[in-house]
């Protein structure tokens, strides 16, 4: 395995592992707090039980998220010293802010976990809110760094050396808003629907158990609105990419030939040699319409980009299609569930809706991974778009396949252990009969 490829693969594995815990770490505290507030309002101890169980699971995941994040901050240097040397002074500040956000999160998670009976209820809820807010901020700060890699600003280079820096302008880069919005919604929709799906599945087998019904409602409260907004946020992101990173956009859409009135390509397999996309469904002029709100607008395609600067077109296109398809499904199921809830109908008696929700359980995670593949693979061969090539950023150390293999095995193993633990934590669910019926 060539060193550059090994480094990229190690980065991808480490981030792909971390993001799972990050997504959960961002959203679970919100679920906890919502359940706790319901308990305080209604006095219904089922909600208290939920909040406590969720807090316990969150603590395990938080720890794994924290160590994998620690690894990442070293890996940025171990694998990409050339990138960090250039980017550190320009965009290092959000990383420091993420450190603070994490610290606040860890402190108040400690208060939350140990404070159930020690501090007043209001203070306890406030601690939960702080955990939720600082978790979300952690994500926002790192994604700002990534947005800067896609839309670099705030510095002047002369022959590869920095001559002027404006870190605040770098943080306020063009991609920052769309990416952080999309990522934050991704965290809430992924986790919310995953939890909803698990309890929906349980409700199908045990429809009288109010424990699952209440959990499902809290999870939908967090997940469903986010899932409905997500395609809109994705559309904003896509329109930004079309302007700032035409090569990535063309790869997402598998568009080889620049034209006016470009079609939207659904599915299909891009044949890079032949420069055409096979077996796809094309919606005439839809891409121009979606992207520039003008059915005749011109879309720059891969023929405008030098061949050696193309990203991996099939991988980017496929990932994008997967994300959009799953996002569409998640949004539709969410609309359905909210419609049922809005008309005050019982969720428990609707096996088809419950099945549809259960099917969505893993989808957010898959969509999130796919979305990051789009972002990261689509940016290649650049690590900083138009400024620094990935090949020029990698460490000169040979033999990178060894750390890649080691960390991959380690993460695979930890992933399995975490799953086992979570299964055991959820094995015994209380049976709470619904008094209402």
């Amino acid at each position: 395995m060539p060193d550059l490829l090994a480094a990229r693969a190690q980065m991808g594995v480490s981030l792909g592992f971390h993001i799972v815990f990050a997504v959960i770490g961002i959203a679970m505290p919100l679920l906890m707090v919502v359940a706790e507030v319901r308990w305080l309002r209604s006095g219904d101890t089922v909600y208290l039980e939920l909040a406590r169980r969720w807090a316990k699971g969150t603590a395990v995941l938080f720890a794994v998220g924290a160590v994998s994040g620690t690894v990442l901050s070293f890996e940025l240097g171990l694998l990409w010293p050339g990138f960090m040397e250039l980017a550190g002074p320009i965009i290092g500040i959000p990383f420091s802010l993420e450190g603070f956000a994490f610290f606040v999160e860890a402190i108040f998670l400690g208060v939350y976990l140990y404070g159930w009976t020690r501090i007043p209820a209001r203070a306890h809820v406030a601690a939960g809110v702080l955990v939720a807010v600082s978790g979300a901020l952690s994500g926002v700060f790192v994604v700002i760094v990534n947005a800067w890699m896609n839309a670099p600003t705030g510095f002047i280079l002369d022959a590869g050396r920095i001559v002027a820096v404006d870190p605040l302008a770098a943080m306020a880069n063009d991609a920052a808003f769309t990416q952080t919005l999309h990522m934050t919604l991704a965290a809430y929709s992924t986790t919310g629907l995953a939890v909803a799906g698990i309890h929906a599945w349980a409700l199908r087998r045990d429809p009288m158990n109010a424990f699952h019904l209440k959990a499902l409602k809290v999870a939908l409260f967090v997940g469903a609105p986010a899932a409905i907004l997500q395609p809109l946020a994705g559309d904003l992101a896509a329109r930004h990419v079309a302007r700032a990173q035409p090569a990535k956009f063309a790869a997402m859409e598998a568009l080889f030939v620049t034209r006016r009135g470009a079609p939207l390509t659904l599915g299909g397999w891009p044949d890079v040699e032949a420069r055409e996309t096979r077996y796809a469904i094309e919606v005439p002029r839809a891409l121009s319409l979606l992207t520039f709100h003008d059915a005749d607008a011109e879309i720059a395609a891969l023929d405008r980009v030098p061949r050696e600067d193309w990203p991996n077109v099939p991988a980017v296109h496929l990932s994008f299609q997967v994300m959009v398809a799953l996002g569409g499904y998640m949004a539709l199921v969410s609309v359905w569930a909210l419609a049922v809830l809005g008309r005050r109908r019982e969720l428990a008696g609707r096996p088809r809706l419950l099945l549809a929700l259960a099917l969505a359980t893993p989808m957010g995670f898959v969509a999130t991974e796919a979305g990051w593949m789009v972002t990261e693979l689509g940016r290649q061969p650049w690590v900083i778009q138009g400024v620094l090539r990935t090949a020029d950023a990698v460490t000169p150390m040979p033999g990178l396949v060894v750390p890649f293999a080691a960390f991959t095995l380690l993460y695979a193993f930890l992933g399995v252990v975490v799953l086992v633990i979570l299964r055991r934590l959820t094995r015994h669910t209380p049976v709470v009969l619904d008094e209402g019926r």
Binding site: S73, S96, G99, G110, R424
Partner: protein
Amino acid sequence: MSAADTLAGIVVLALNAYVLLGGADFGGGVWDLLARGPRAARQRELVAHAIGPVWEANHVWLILAIVLLFTCFPAAFARISIALHVPLAVMLVGVVVRGSAFTFRSSGVGDAAFERRWGRAFAGASLLTPVLLGVTLGAIASGRVREPGAGSRTFLADYVSPWLTPFGVAVGLLTLACFAYLAAVYLVLEAEDQDLREDFRHRAMRSGIAVLAAAVLALGLAGTGAPRLVDGLVRSPWAIPHVAITAFTATAAFAGLWRRRYGLARVAAAAEVSLLVWGWARAQYPYIVPPDLTVAGAAAPPITLRLVLIGLGGGAVVLIPALYYLFRVFKMPGDR
């Protein structure tokens, strides 16, 4: 004092905090591994109880040091990351295994065998990680972390010889000894019954001697292993007072343990280890990565440094009261 000097000082301060707080967690793992005798199970319990609530918060100090390094001293970060890839990567494996193992063990889902297995992983990683952290710091101090050589060099010359030296290993052992020592001294105070307290009192004294032995060994090897460091230690006008105060705190810590004045022992031991950290930093100054990268030379543009300082100030205003509150909550009577 320039902004760069201040920030370099804060990096050392973060490392110092990591050594005092995170280090004690590692040391706890060492005592978990070495738990012996009729009270072994209770010794392990005490360690787990003492680490439990705060370990994640403690880890942040290492992150802070790293983040400050790459934001404010990018050239130093790049140089260290390239030359010390191997020990850093192994250290990271230790960090991951240790953190996960501890949480898995205390997640309360497993049977005794499950807890024992993860307990061993936790303890083993607690042993490995500090040694590599020390090896890394020793390598930096030794002045062998240079610009990668021209093409003809070998993997061993470029990526192993900077750190695998007698001096480096000695600093690794010193780090491990310090962590174990700190943990034992803290645990004496945490222990609630007399027998456990005596167990850890003996361990604290023994590991205190180990610290002194390792420090003497490292200093002895520094003559050839890190000549510049010795120069820096000896040449400065602060050399004699620094050594004198360190010796004084070490004596005070022993006296505290001997006379069972544990509060005194804790403060003195923490001061002793901190003085070792600052002695290294002082000897190395003005170099951040000797022999050629100075603090000023590796520094990021002034605007970045200024913003980071502002951010740190703002952060401290939020974090210090929050931490205070956390410790208050732990001390309150409650369900656990």
